[in-house]
Amino acid sequence: MKKKCVAMLLAGGQGSRLGVLTKSIAKPAVLFGGKYRLIDFSLSNCYHSNIGIVGVLTQYQPLELNSYISTGSAWSLDNVGGGVTILPPYQNRYGASWYRGTADAIYQNLYFLQSYDPEHVLIISGDHIYKMDYSEMLNNHIKNHADLTIGGLLVEPEEASRFGIMNTDGENRILEFEEKPEYPKGNLASMGIYIFRWSVLKRLLKEDGAKEESQHDFGKNVIPESLAQGLDVFAYPFMGYWRDVGTIQSYYDAQMELLLQTPPLNLFDKDFRIYSNHESLPPHFISNDATVTDSLISDGCLICGEVKHSILSSSVIVEKGAIVENSILLKNVKVGKNARVRHSILDEGVVILTDEEVGSADQSVQLIGKEEQDA
């Protein structure tokens, strides 16, 4: 059955700069804002964009991610004859191979795309925080008769060298694309969101797959090649909220913004909801001895101490006399009596003992994992 647009979501990344947070789970499965996982944003965007078929490419520590995504029903993406399909690396009669890069991951699953034979293919990743209706970008792509359209975001000029930078003409046609340039000429950065005409993508990937010297990466190989071939490549400037949470500091900052009186990312918004495959847990309980202020508290928490300007994921316990400030506590963290936690991120299941102190207001954010504790 022919489809207009099918999405491929790259969810294989390790995200090694997030340290212990990605020790046993892939980056798209990292918790955010108390109850979400990073991939919720891309999958919810697909739902709101009316994209009914999503292939999710996994490779690194996929167990938790796979069972989290399941059939996609949490994002209303479990349609008859479509929905979410998880695409791990696989073995066929010619052998077995891991995904060697973002482009190779799609290349190895061309047969999946072929089975839907879409007109266009949307390629996104599962580790950015944003709300975006991809169907507007698709309309733009179609209107321009583009072979490739790249989502772009204006970044601070001093940050531009961290991104792929697109230099465009007045009609958003991309004249030049530089991956992480030392001396950027502009500040329109690629968001890693691509819409390809399917026939073009198929050809480009086959060509790229045959090149031994290629790193099989969209930013480094396929995009520059498209421009070199003189294809019609356009940018689609995106004006909304967007955060890359690839480092501990950016992961911390993006979450703390949720505590503002009017957060730039409104997760209470009913019109563009971010869905998640949440656990079913009882309400949280705040005891007689507790104080909670300026915080996000999830289901199943038991708060008997003081919680200030912090985000608590589900089933966190804060015992009597304990103080938690400016911190992010992931699932099942336990803070013992009279302990003090400041300016820290505590990974799932971390236990802070009675009277223990972690973090301080002066240092940079401290990330504490279970392993560090055991060591």
Binding site: G34, F268, P283, I286, A290
Partner: protein, 354 residues
């Protein structure tokens, strides 16, 4: 493997009519995110009973919406684990009966078809407890009982009382569940056309000489919800650590239809104490000794004490609520004051704007 069936029935809702204008008694919201039926239904699921009938009654909309296909209770559509049984047309539940078997008549086939079922557990839908049916079933089968009656223990029974002292009692104690061999129920349903008795408890009493009947006592927490004050008290019971622990932190989960809400946000200046608070709320005011359900908003300067808020309460600024129950989606304007008493809480019905 599938030897036991559970049936959950509606009860007479006279004492709770403010809540049952548009819903059956079984779907009255409770404890921040649950509905009454979650408790008996989870009791069955936790005992591995995978053949369950729920009487739907006339106001069945919220029940269908709540139960869905039973997925949240690990009940499966394919193996037909859960059925919503329609009641007779124009039939309404009478007071004073333990269980009116006439309600089962349209579902006779449902019981008849499952011929491998040996025993049926009957539970009312308006009862808060976390019963462990496994040992109770063992005692029923090992003792070769025809009928096993599960009662509460006396002390709590005397404490709460019931509007009609004569009903739902066995040897002076309140009945939490009745287990009956399926053949007896089939016989009763056959005979009903010939004018037999139709109250399950009367039927058992009348035949007690011919039946092997045992009584077992549940030692733990339970509450029957049959009037406003019982409803109010049972909610506030959740502020007791021992009750929360028995109901929600033990080995047997109480399942419910869960909602995918944002975590609850507390703003600067909020002050919350001894409160049970569900997800999706935005809280800027003061809350004490209260239950707050999903997606409620509480404005600055507002004080809420000893109150029960059902889902989507919209409370303005500088409001004062004490001993109040708000049904779903109630809006309270700025500076409103509502005060009830412990014995007679103020009740505001669904969707009201005050």
């Amino acid at each position: 493997m599938r030897k036991v069936m559970g049936i959950i029935f509606q009860r007479w809702d006279h004492g709770l009519q403010t809540f049952t204008m548009n819903r059956g008694i079984s779907t009255i919201p409770f404890g921040g995110r649950y509905r009454l039926i979650d408790f008996p239904l989870s009791n069955l699921v936790n005992a591995n009973i995978h053949s369950i009938g729920v009487l739907g009654g006339a106001k069945y909309g919220s029940l269908i919406d709540h139960l869905g296909t039973g997925q949240e209770w690990s009940l499966h559509r394919k193996t037909q684990d859960l059925a919503i049984l329609p009641a007779l047309e124009n039939y309404s539940v009478e007071p004073g009966l333990y269980f009116d078997l006439r309600e089962l008549l349209p579902s006779k086939l449902f019981i008849e078809n499952q011929s491998t079922i040996e025993m049926i557990i009957f539970q009312p839908s308006n009862q808060i407890d976390n019963l462990d049916f496994k040992p109770l079933m063992d005692e029923h089968f090992n003792g070769m009982n025809d009928v096993t009656i599960v009662t509460g223990n006396g002390r709590i029974d005397e404490a709460i009382g019931t509007p009609d002292e004569n009903r739902r009692k066995w040897q002076g104690r309140e009945i939490l569940a009745v287990m009956v061999q399926r053949t007896l129920i089939m016989q009763a349903l056959q005979r009903m056309n010939q004018g037999g008795s139709y109250d399950l408890l009367n039927l058992i009493r009348r035949n007690q000489e011919h039946l092997r009947i045992k009584t077992l006592t549940h030692k733990g927490y339970y509450r029957e919800i049959s009037d406003i004050s019982g409803y109010y008290q049972a909610n506030l019971d959740l502020l007791e650590a021992s009750v929360r622990k028995e109901l929600f932190r033990g080995p047997r989960t109480i399942y419910t239809k869960s909602k995918d809400n944002h975590p609850t946000q507390y703003f600067d200046g909020s002050f919350v104490n001894n409160a049970w608070i569900a997800s999706g709320c935005q809280i800027a005011g003061i809350i004490q000794n209260s239950i707050v359900s999903r997606e409620s908003m509480i404005g600055e300067g507002t004080v809420i004490k000893n109150s029960i808020l059902m889902q989507r309460a919209r409370i303005g600024k500088d409001v004062h609520l004490e001993h109040v129950i708000l049904d779903k989606a109630v809006t309270i304007r700025d500076r409103t004051v509502l005060k009830g008493s412990k014995d007679e809480p103020v009740v505001i019905s669904k969707g009201s704007v005050i």
